[in-house]
Amino acid sequence: MPTIVVDVMPKAELLDPAGKAVAGSLARQGKAHISGVRIGKRFEITVDEVNEAVLAEVREIAESMLSNSVIEDVIDVRVAEDHPAANAGEAHAEASVSR
């Protein structure tokens, strides 16, 4: 069954203590190339079919429930043509879908 991927990230201007904690710990381990970490969520939503109506519905859910617009942004809603795990190692195509 097709999967729609929704990516949600904390708003850039707000605190992300969890990301900060990971970045701090990496810095303490001497990982000098890494200057920042932010932690968001990735939703994999299995749908029975993909069409504009379904996509519109998922987009709506992404805005109203999967994210809280006061503190988070939905940064992407797209159809995963393949599960990324299946094609790790090669560039994979995902059709990005506008919000």
Partner: protein
Amino acid sequence: MRVGVVTFPGSLDERDAQRAVRLAGAEPVELWHSDHDLQGVDAIVLPGGFSYGDYLRCGAIAAHSPIMREVVDAANSGMPVLGICNGFQVLVEAHLLPGGLIRNDHGQFVRRDQQLRVENTSTAWTSGFEQGQEITIPLKNGEGGFIADAETLARIEGEGLVTFRYVGLNPNGSLNDIAGLTNERGNVVGLMPHPEHAVEAGFGPDTSTRMRSGVDGLTFFTSVVEQALARA
């Protein structure tokens, strides 16, 4: 006076909230998440807990439950609503209160007897306190860090919406030590600490003189009851 206490799947402190309502001299009324019926109550408490497991964002799924549509309408027409911990998160997710609540900055669940300063005594739930009074209320949460963007924060402070501030120790990284908020109208109040756990001597927080004897939380409930009496 009848005070509704909403139970969502995963609510935990609803019986404590009912007990607090009773000890304040009012009648608790159980409200169920999937109903649309407020049963004619005069005020509403959204209790603490982990509604729907709180796996997505705390309070997020509960904010979409049927009863919340009624609660939002009632709140907008002035009914006193108190959100405690998870209830506060639900109020924030339902946009009845500004800002957001995120994972504690230290990443752990924390339980402690928390000192608070009462910053606003003109709300439905705080009128029995003195301005600036310091009270001790148990706190227990994993996601109590209050955040808001700079503009919102300035507005919250400017309009005096901050109702409680952490004193002594900020347990979760909340901006400006914010522990609780009210809305412009003062009928909706949300806070992370648990006043319903400080209503009965023997089961409350430690005080400076006696173990487990703090009852500062009772004033939340007597405030709303006394105002109702005054109006009647």
